[in-house]
Symmetry: C2
Subunit: 349 residues, 2 copies
DNA sequence: GCCATGCATGACACCGGTTTCCGAATCAAG
DNA sequence: CTTGATTCGGAAACCGGTGTCATGCATGGC
């Protein structure tokens, strides 16, 4: 390779070729090299090839810091997330990475704590300091309007992921949780279930509201009533799901199916059923939401709703990178039901 | 705030105060402002205060790109990981973030695919392009020596996470998997188990080797033999765990306990046992490894080995940021056994 | 009273790109 | 052969910081 002097600790000194080296060696000006890099059309093919050869020879790679400084913007996308669901966050990262692969963008992650009082200040510091190109905001903190306002104030582009209309199309990628829950209920009803209970998510979450409303609407659509004993609150954790299921299963007329607002709570519900020696799915059908890793790995494998998070991530990243075309990109994504083994036809009690 | 003109799209133009503005307003030179920012000791208290007041007034925040360019290094840490275990990756991110909170560092993530032929080139492109301050490498790709060599070649600092001595102390943070598996075996033996089987991890993984060796050593220590029918290969996936368990459970003299080299395979084994109507833990005890989310959420909750990943991440980030003191930082971390409900005393068959 | 000393500060080049503006070369038309 | 348009390439300023070195000033020792 090109002359690298070694440091004591075995690392090469910053002896990388610069645009000046390329210009000197190929006998053109910096600007011409810059044009080659940026694929400017007004260049003779001959010059371009000559410079490109030198670039290869020298192993030249443009310095992103210098570019960022000169162009007044960098190529860093931020990911702001709280962390209820590791698999989801990681899948999202995956999707974003797919979108920015082969570009000069990189992804900077920043977990935040939605319960900390200093959360907004934290994010403010982060954004001011790093001057990111833009940020992607994951639920549940994507539902925080103050956060979006902060981004606006700081001049930071953003896209929110959500389960309802939180913002205009340019700043939002959403899944239709409500409709998806409808499918889940339809499926249960088609299997003959009439006494269906809901384990709801935490009040503050938009996704929880949507899933609850989707459930209630679908039940109403089928002409099924949902008594007060048929809805139990949860907070998206395993334990809350177990506790909620215990309450539901105590009811005089036991439900034959439970829809849990996420997989973790469904797993908790399964746990509760097993302790009461209620067979799943023979005596109790169960549907979850999110299709996290856990859904496929419990017994019986959980029927659940999968939302296309990787596609959504890709779309979100794309919106962020190409703000001009953001509104053309799809904003709404459809989830679908993954049928596994936790649902069976209802039996008469 | 300081005069911001708005763009059509509602975002503030890059009208942030620069070091020049601060210098002009406070009547000192750029350099002096720079000294204030960098807490240089040779400054009169009076000047410092005056400049600091102006900085506050103007809401000035130094531009990291400019700093990076001038200083020849940026403040970005990279995280290279393959993705068998979302919870682990995310916990690791958390630990790193803890370490760099309140510093100017940020974390850039980069999932890579260890099975892709172009993996090394991929990483090379990434490192050359982004010029990170350094990278953290997670297992299993941390075991790839070519990757470490690449970092050296490119002059990129690195720290590898691993389960064995992969590198020198300055570039490694390791967990003692071998010893931890020993504890797991001890526990099983103390419960009266003698016929203990192993579901091994994939050949290529150092962690798998360590866990296998730890198992064999511990069994030998207890004077217990491990016949060929007592070790089944797996590849860290749920399905491979199930298949391995099926083979083990077919043996003429069935094992009374199985140690699986990770939780996912343990979950698979549980699945297999259930299909054969073998009660866990009554008729079969099970221990996993990693203490991922799944361990606590299956039934029965899985006894498993937890390694202190957040502490390890913190140490790794610290080593990366302070290379001079890297060797003083701890490199070896102890894992411990989390006792849940998947182990019971052995019964005579 | 003078010069060496030390401390606080400033002038200026520099990091490695991009952008603006302008000049040179080429070529067709007059 | 000259003119004008067009294409291509270069010089220099600029982005916003940091490093080097020089300078002014107060201090102190002789």
């Amino acid at each position: 390779m090109s002359g690298n002097d070694e440091l004591g600790d075995g690392f090469r000194r910053e002896g990388k070729a610069t645009i000046n080296d390329v210009a000197r060696v190929s006998g053109v000006s910096k600007k011409t090299v810059s044009r080659v890099i940026n694929r400017s059309p007004l260049l003779s093919a001959e010059t371009r090839e000559r410079v490109e050869a030198v670039i290869r020879d020298l192993g030249y790679v443009p310095n992103p810091q210098a570019r960022a400084l000169a162009m007044g913007r960098n190529f860093l996308l931020g990911l702001l997330h709280d962390n209820p669901n590791a698999q989801m966050v990681l899948n999202f990262q995956e999707g974003v990475l797919e979108a920015i692969r082969d570009t000069e963008f990189a992804l900077v992650v920043r977990p935040v704590n939605r319960h900390s009082v200093g959360m907004l200040d934290d994010v403010r510091h982060f954004l001011e300091r790093q001057r990111l190109f833009g940020v992607l905001i994951l639920p549940p903190i994507s539902e925080n309007d103050a956060l979006a306002a902060l981004c606006r104030e700081l001049g930071c582009r953003y896209v929110r992921m959500g389960s309802a209309a939180l913002d205009d199309e340019a700043h939002l990628v959403e899944s239709n949780d409500r409709e998806a829950v409808g499918q889940a209920v339809d499926h249960l009803v088609s299997q003959g279930h009439r006494n269906i209970a809901l384990i709801a998510g935490p009040e503050g979450f938009r996704s929880a509201q949507e899933r609850r409303n989707g459930f209630l609407e679908a039940m109403a659509r089928h002409g099924l009533s949902v008594g007060p004993g048929r809805v139990a609150p949860g907070n998206y954790t395993f334990d809350s799901g177990r506790a909620a299921a215990e309450r539901l299963l105590e009811a005089s007329e036991r439900p034959t199916a439970i829809f849990a607002s996420n997989d973790e709570m469904a797993a908790g519900a399964l746990h509760a059923a097993r302790q009461r020696e209620i067979e799943v799915p023979a005596a109790l059908s169960l549907i979850g939401f999110d299709d996290t890793a856990i859904a496929a790995h419990i017994w019986p494998p959980l029927t659940t709703v999968r939302w296309p998070i990787i596609s959504m991530a890709r779309a979100a990243a794309y919106k962020l990178i190409h703000p001009a075309e953001a509104k053309q990109q799809p904003s709404r994504f459809l989830s679908d039901l993954v049928r596994r083994a936790s649902v069976a036809p209802a039996v008469k009690q």
